[in-house]
């Protein structure tokens, strides 16, 4: 389903940590070697010595191919990572609700999101709220955000979603595998409760 902020933060931590470890390894290795360690007492040698250059020149074809492959892999990783930052939970535009001989039937996700938002706001304890249809690879899900009115019970809002909002959305799209995530914000105690 949709990726929560926590999920995004976890993947950021993993990828950035791998990058950090690579940088530490490269810098640490270079530093140790420049100080005469790692079994290379000849620290007076060039960073790119003649032997290495000759090897690269001799196998220029596959070295160039491998380097291009690695560079493109790095670029793809960058694209994947950047996309996750910008679109952590990509909105869905249309949801397929039927696929038969006569053609394909789909539902406008915007209309469903509006209906879901209306159902969410029907809960007594919700001051403001918004529903979105998110997902990847044909598995749509509901991403709901609601502000719980001062004095209201967050669990009651959740029960309302489980008992009314989600079943109605499932019926609308004809999919019982539709799931929902609800992000609740407790209203500022100074705010007036919605009666």
């Amino acid at each position: 389903m949709s990726e929560t902020g926590t999920g995004l933060d976890s993947s950021n931590r993993v990828v950035a940590s791998i990058l950090g470890l690579l940088l530490v390894s490269a810098g640490g290795y270079g530093l140790v070697r420049s100080l005469g360690g790692v079994g290379h007492p000849a620290r007076a040698g060039a960073l790119l010595d003649g032997g290495l250059r000759a090897d690269i020149a001799e196998h220029a074809g596959w070295v160039g191919g491998a380097a291009t492959f690695v560079a493109l892999l790095v670029a793809w990783l960058g694209w994947w990572w950047l996309r996750r930052q910008l679109l952590p939970a990509p909105p869905v535009r249309r949801i397929a609700v039927g696929d038969g001989r006569g053609g394909r039937t789909s539902l406008d996700a915007g209309a469903l999101a509006e209906a879901v938002t209306r159902d969410l706001l029907a809960s007594d304890g919700v001051a403001t709220g918004r529903g979105r249809i998110v997902g990847r690879n044909g598995f749509p899900g509901l991403s709901l955000t609601a502000e719980v009115a001062a004095g209201a019970d967050p669990q009651a809002v959740r029960r309302h979603v489980a008992d009314h909002v989600l079943p109605r959305a499932r019926t609308a799209v004809g999919r019982q595998d539709l799931v929902a995530h609800l992000h609740l914000r407790l209203a500022d105690p100074g705010d007036r409760a919605i009666e």
Binding site: S34, L184, A187
Partner: protein
């Protein structure tokens, strides 16, 4: 902090994307016997050929790499407070969480109503919830106990997925 980390990660991701594409393009251009396009790799190669491992320039480069890596690891593993707190299962197939800041304000308000407290602030972490409060009472011990009891009740009311350790710090505020 969380937003800053996301901006940092977006910057790193963009650097990887652009860097990877530029390097791939430079390799292709070199294979076609064309000169450098954006990266002066011929000069870099010359520098790497004439610079030894123990040269000052090389050491500065290694230190910079090491420093950047350590900074990145520190930023990523620095313990941050969660942006949201998961609610215990029980809402059918609906997963739910509560915004941490809202919970802090709510707890501060509720606990602040305890008799004997003049003000209370709540800080919620991934494992601990801490209440810092002021009391005008001469004896803070009973107030501290009442505050702890109230905090326990209100946490139970929230029904969080993970139980939080409670730390209550009630200070006596002197009125001059």
């Amino acid at each position: 902090m969380r937003l800053a980390n996301r901006v940092l990660c977006a910057g790193l991701a963009l650097a990887l994307l652009v860097g990877g594409l530029v390097v791939a393009a430079e390799i292709l251009l070199a294979a076609l016997r064309r000169g450098p396009w954006l990266v002066p790799h011929d000069r870099w190669q010359q520098w790497a050929t004439t610079t030894t491992w123990s040269d000052r320039g090389a050491r500065v480069l290694f230190l910079a790499l090491l420093g950047a890596g350590l900074v990145l690891l520190t930023v990523e593993w620095w313990r941050r407070r969660p942006s949201s707190l998961a609610l215990a299962p029980g809402g059918g197939e609906v997963t739910a969480d509560l915004d941490r800041r809202g919970v802090e304000r709510w707890l501060g308000d509720r606990v602040g109503r305890v008799e004997g407290l003049s003000e209370a602030r709540a800080e919620v972490g991934s494992r601990v919830v801490r209440i810092r409060a002021d009391s005008l009472d001469a004896e803070v011990g009973p107030v501290q106990q009442r505050t702890r009891d109230a905090l326990g009740r209100h946490l139970e009311e929230l029904a969080l997925a993970r139980s939080l350790r409670m730390k209550v710090d009630v200070r006596q505020r002197r009125v001059s």
